[in-house]
């Protein structure tokens, strides 16, 4: 067992939980939460590989994770704004409310 493996298993668990939730929950906000979890799982594996991977570069993995956090912030802001816009039109944050493409 290599040293990165526990972290990768943790990341996999996080990813799976997030995915199951994102697919199953009907509340759009919670679907977004699931997506956040999946993003974080990816981040965790970046850091795990950075720390325990064979590549000698001391920074790149960290940078990847850092940028990913920044992007996740943007993603959350836009996603939540979309949810607010959706709520304004449909008076609901249920994902079924957004199924139809007709305005």
């Amino acid at each position: 067992m290599n040293p990165a493996q526990p972290y990768l298993f943790l990341a996999a668990a996080l990813f799976i939980i997030g995915m199951a939730g994102a697919l199953a929950r009907r509340n759009a906000i919670l679907a977004l939460v699931g997506i956040e979890l999946m993003l974080n799982a990816a981040n965790l594996s970046f850091v795990a590989f950075w720390r325990h991977g064979p590549h000698p570069d001391p920074q790149t993995g960290l940078m990847f994770a850092l940028f990913s956090i920044a992007i996740a912030g943007a993603e959350a802001a836009v996603g939540l704004a979309l949810i607010i816009a959706l709520f304004r039109h449909r008076r609901s944050v249920s994902l079924e409310a957004a199924e139809s493409l007709k305005g």
Partner: protein, 178 residues
């Protein structure tokens, strides 16, 4: 595997399970925070200090707050509506199980892991800063552009559309606050 890993890893998994399975959305949001804190702890344990603190600052300080704020704005704090899509567990569980099988299988079958050739050098904040300003300056600028665009987009999306006007009088000389 350090004790810290067990502690923080436990937090991550429990928090994530709570975030996805609790009935009340606000509880889910708070449970998500536990996950974020656990992840930050894991990063610190891995030696990525800056990243761990940035994780807290961004996720706990901003994203989680934003989430609960939106939950209040959209009145989802009561847990009234059915929380799971009809048949959702089926689909979600099935897909997640498939992915789980794939991921775990892949991870378990990893072999020939090359150990690190030289000892790990942990970058200081100064190193990170220098790297951001030299090697990674283009991504940094791009992230800046993305964040700006996201900010403007989010503001436009969330701005109320003016139709019909507001209930109640707006005092003279003051614009209605957003």
């Amino acid at each position: 595997m350090t004790p810290w890993f067990l502690l923080f890893g436990g937090l991550v998994v429990v928090g994530a399970l709570g975030a996805m399975a609790l009935r009340n959305p606000v509880h889910c949001g708070l449970s998500l925070v536990v996950t974020f804190v656990g992840l930050a702890g894991t990063y610190l344990d891995l030696g990525a200090d800056f990243l761990g603190l940035a994780q807290i600052l961004v996720y706990v300080g901003a994203v989680a707050i934003l989430l609960v704020f939106v939950m209040l704005l959209t009145r989802t704090g009561r847990g009234e509506s059915p929380e799971v899509r009809p048949g959702g567990w089926w689909w979600g569980g099935l897909v997640a199980a498939l992915v789980a099988v794939g991921l775990v299988g892949a991870l378990a079958s990893v072999s020939g892991w090359k150990p690190r050739s030289e000892p790990m050098t942990f970058p200081t904040v100064r190193d990170l800063g220098v790297a951001l300003m030299t090697d990674f300056v283009l991504p940094l600028q791009l992230v800046g552009v993305v964040l700006t665009a996201a900010m403007i987009g989010a503001a436009i999306l969330a701005l109320p559309e003016r139709r019909g006007g507001r209930v109640g009088r707006t005092p003279k000389g003051e614009e209605p606050e957003q």
